[in-house]
Subunit: 301 residues, 2 copies
């Protein structure tokens, strides 16, 4: 079944202690779509690019089988550009620049073929825009959204309205703590459930992720990577991989979501091994399965 | 079988955002011994106290069945006193004072009955002292030691000599990163193995713990606590609980050590729920088993 992904499609400049890349393919929508696409579900991407966006990038996404009907190209616009720099330990990231360009005036209208998508992933974005997508969807089976500190601080009311409409909220640990104002992550996650989502998934970077519902708790390990090149997009790869697996299985049971989180973890681990989606381009599904099995063994007792 | 624990026995003053206790029973040796003691192994404690150490505290340890033959009371000495203050999120701890007193001149001599102990836990201490214990032990089956940044910075040579003699090193994530000078935890843990230990166990606080050997990787989840009163002693409760379980089972297989780490995690979770060893005093083994089962369910996929 199909996954609808709404997110950014960007040109990224990334500096790490040992390397630098410029205007590479990036954005939450791209990372999530490429990850979801590993599961042979139909993946539909909604986003916006400018006239300057390289054809080679959109060609790549299309040859992967990602549906770009919902990717709008603004003839006289410039693409979203983001620049970031990582410090030595990759836990601290400085944003060097954010040029919203075409994104600042984007009001997505779903193509008819997208409206019936059963699985929706609304990557980090304005909660107003995220809500407008939900209102266009006719048969959602699972709505998952991400958010960030900016919206928590600046668009609290709209974010709360959004949370009343989604099934799963995915966010970072610091964001969960900020939203509730409680440094205890478990309490913060439980408190978020009261805003509406049936499940809160908290991403903890190198410490894995947790999933909390009223009646369940799941602790997903991180994959023990020794080679970190660029963490950009890891969170969106995680969520996208999760959505791709859920759509492929076609149910939203606790067991499916747990496996989906592990697949998301594995795809994020590959993502981190190179810039942009370079590593994903050459990952075989057997490699994904193999890391999945490694993680199963790593938590067994 | 028996667990020999060498650590501090202290009077602690702890301040948290909502509470303060003074001169309560504490110390790495106490936390580890009380934790190990849940498994009905014989627990032998080596440490030193002053004339001022309350009889009620030693009586408590004795009535628990902990062997205090190795606990030296210095007639004209003062006990080790430590004071610490936790900030709002419990992740930052300021040491308010450290009065070593009788500990500064302590050169432990094992009672004959202790020398044959098969399972040794050498809590954080000078590596020279830790080595002197190993040299007195006649039949060790498993030697586990802890350390901290102070020894890594100030006694590197002795610490390296110690590592060549121990089976397992237990330390915090920041300490592992400091020892190797690598912020990637997995690489740091792997690099520590080259100094001698067959296994490195890295404690990550609220993010659980990992165990790394040349051929295995285990990720232990944290117990999802919502009630945190005082984290003091959590690391020693973890290690002590682990040792108690290993001694009770009587082997050091991968499977035993994984279960032992989970039992250690559970006992540490109780430890955190109250000051000193107050929570442990009233924990039933059925409660420990119940949290063990919860963690099994929490990582299952």
């Amino acid at each position: 079944m199909g996954v609808l992904i709404v997110g950014t499609v960007t040109l990224d400049t990334v500096e790490t202690p040992s390397n630098r890349v410029e205007d590479v393919l990036g954005g939450s929508g791209v990372y999530a779509a490429v990850a979801a696409n590993f599961f042979k579900s139909s993946v539909q991407l909604v986003g916006v690019i400018g006239a300057d966006f390289p054809r080679s990038y959109t060609n790549f996404l299309e040859t992967q089988g990602i549906d770009l009907q919902g990717l709008e190209r603004i003839a006289n616009g410039k693409s979203f550009r983001w620049g970031g720099r990582y410090a030595e330990n990759f836990n601290v990231r400085d944003t060097l620049f954010t040029e919203l360009n075409v994104v600042s005036d984007f009001h997505p209208v779903l193509p008819d073929a997208y409206k019936k998508a059963p699985y929706l992933f609304l990557a980090n974005n304005s909660p107003v825009l995220q809500l407008s997508i939900i209102e266009q969807a006719t048969d959602p089976k699972l709505i998952v959204c991400d958010t960030m500190d900016f919206w928590i601080n600046e668009e609290r009311e709209a974010l709360e309205a959004l949370l009343a409409r989604v099934d799963v909220l995915v966010l970072n640990d610091s964001e969960a703590q900020l939203f509730i104002g409680d440094s205890n992550l478990m309490r913060a996650a439980q408190a978020i459930l009261r805003y509406g989502p049936k499940r809160v998934i908290v991403k903890k970077g190198e410490h894995g992720a947790i999933s909390v519902t009223k009646s369940s708790f799941f602790s997903a390990p991180a994959y023990p990577l020794t080679r970190v090149t660029d963490p950009t997009g890891a969170g969106d790869s995680f969520a996208g991989g999760m959505m791709g697996y859920i759509a492929a299985v076609g149910d939203t049971s606790e067991a499916t979501i747990r496996s989906a989180m592990i697949y998301g973890t594995v795809i994020a681990s590959f993502n981190i091994e190179d810039f942009s989606v370079n590593r994903q381009k050459c990952v075989q599904f057997s490699e994904i399965s193999s890391r999945y099995d490694e993680l199963k063994e790593a938590v067994h007792f």
